[in-house]
Symmetry: C2
Subunit: 338 residues, 2 copies
């Protein structure tokens, strides 16, 4: 006889076998009781349930998943759980998944493109599908990863129809924001750029490039910045240099960081400087002044990502990119140039 058990370490305390033994029935019966299938004699069922309660047994989802071939769980890879924008999306996603009886587990890659592929893979190897939220990895890596983790849906990245994708039209968004500023009379506008390698920054840049064509009298200045509060806070010296009267921040977090700095520097917003952001995170309503920003229905987007991911799990996936058009939320941080 070869092949004893492999078990390196702890194994679960109570298994279905224990329940079966104590209740004096077969594992099959316990399984049937557990899953409510095949008519089981009431008396037997009762006894089984009693034993289960008594021993405090819960089935191993790992074994169950292996046996069934599915787990009814999906994974989401997020580059930065700290970004409120992702919560909103995650929220909608979670809700929609729950409606379909799916559990959601989240992994944070902490903005490390190197780890993303491995984490996505690992997540996928324990779940039925994965959603990648704006991964930082290069397009090459992304395209290489996609087939290995299918079914997969991607948020805010294009996939060349190699996976479902849901995107926010940042190009349109930045134009909306910029036009708003232009209508207010601003002629020298700074764009505080985000991570150079991110698609969402790239799209904003494209929108601005278009705009420079159609609005030649307006000066739109690019300033490298970043994506955090601190980046916004630190952007002030360079911003002042430009003599701009309005600024479009890469996102709300950056805008809010900048707002904090401007307050310290006694630069009055919006009187001396108009500031706009992107994403409409919850706090942007409560900052002082409240923040003009590009808004999109993030939680609806999350629900849509679920729909797309769900379709990926079926025979006919939705490969046409789903594009969401943003809108402008005008609040107190922008004002007519006097």
């Amino acid at each position: 006889m070869a092949g004893k058990r492999a078990r390196t370490t702890p194994t679960r305390p109570t298994t279905i076998t224990d329940i079966a033994r104590v209740a004096g029935v077969s594992k099959a019966t316990v399984s049937r009781v557990l899953n409510g299938v095949g008519t089981v004699n009431d008396e037997l069922a009762r006894r089984v349930r009693e034993v289960i309660d008594e021993l405090g047994y819960t089935p191993s989802q790992t074994a169950r998943s292996l046996s069934l071939g599915i787990s009814r769980t999906v994974g989401v890879l997020v580059p930065d759980l700290g970004n409120p924008m992702f919560h909103q999306v995650l929220n909608g996603f979670n809700r929609a998944a729950a409606r379909d009886g799916y559990h959601v587990v989240v992994a944070d890659s902490f903005e490390d493109p190197e780890r993303e592929a491995e984490l996505a893979q690992d997540l996928r190897d324990r779940t039925d599908a994965v959603a990648l939220f704006a991964p930082r990895m290069t397009r090459i890596s992304l395209l290489a990863l996609l087939p290995r983790v299918a079914p997969v849906a991607v948020f805010n990245r294009t996939t060349g129809k190699n996976a479902g994708s849901v995107l926010i039209d940042y190009r349109e968004g930045v134009i909306l924001v910029a036009r708003h500023l232009i209508e207010l009379g601003h002629r020298r506008i700074v764009f505080l750029a985000g991570p150079a390698d991110s698609r969402s920054n790239w799209e904003r840049e494209k929108g601005l490039t278009d705009l420079r064509e159609t609005e030649p009298e307006v000066e739109i200045i690019d300033l490298a910045c970043g994506h955090s509060f601190e980046d916004g806070y630190n952007a002030w010296p360079a911003l002042r240099e430009t003599g701009a009267t309005a600024v479009i921040a890469f996102n709300d977090v950056v805008a809010l960081g900048l707002l904090g700095r401007l307050a310290e520097e006694k630069v009055v917003v919006p009187d001396q400087m108009s500031v706009a952001g992107f994403d409409d995170i919850p706090f942007s309503r409560y900052s002082s002044p409240s923040l003009t920003t590009m808004t999109s229905r993030l939680s609806e987007i999350g629900e849509r990502i679920w729909t797309v991911l769900r379709a990926e799990m079926t025979a006919d996936p939705i490969r046409e990119p789903v594009m969401f058009s943003p809108a402008l939320a005008v609040r107190r941080s922008t004002k007519e140039l006097r």
Copy 2:
């Protein structure tokens, strides 16, 4: 012959058996190559790796976990991923777990106490251990859950030594904040209370009760509020009624929501009203004015939760509650009463 396969639905495309077959070796050899154990002939190993690459194979973590009895993955249950405070902790936890070669998956209960037990259970049934972050469930439910999900560590809840626990000393924290305000000359202070059933709110209340004893000349008024931006924003009318000159918010999120409202109402902070928060979330540095708050080294706390959870997985757990003392971060939102 009975018992065909169970498979309801998809099964993984390539398995270790495929690799073994194509490479012309046994599954054991493939496994050895995969895990770098037992000396495998270089030539064979090379061939195996080639086939693996070619077929784009990655091992099923589910099968691996079942066989090994462990997954080197732990779960974290969070009541609200939207609360920045949890990220900070999660951050430290993740980092520490990664150092020990563990993966972390997160589940969000969306503040629903009903779902917490089930989610925790499910999480546990796919991982080696779980960390419960300030669960909303009642103490009874918590104590009932603990043995069922062990190894388990709990953040910001007491467990009566039925599990490892790490706590922030909010009692001490609120006293620190209140004393600061008292020293500034404030004699009528409002506390915007959080969720009535949460331990962390309860602890703050206790601290204030103590304080009312030792500082009889100071009036500390309790106002039911909540934990969100909106709750803080909406607290204004009731707050004004009291005629207080200083306010301690349940947390930074509430304080920030209030700050937004005060700005709208043209109540100048800190000149007309001092405002303090709890948690020191990243944004509290950048608000205008920056927020005086109770700070604790959240990411260090996260690391400590990992240590405690790790110990729970061994023969001698750390059952003595680990208490973190908070400190005061004085910033611009509080000022001497003139």
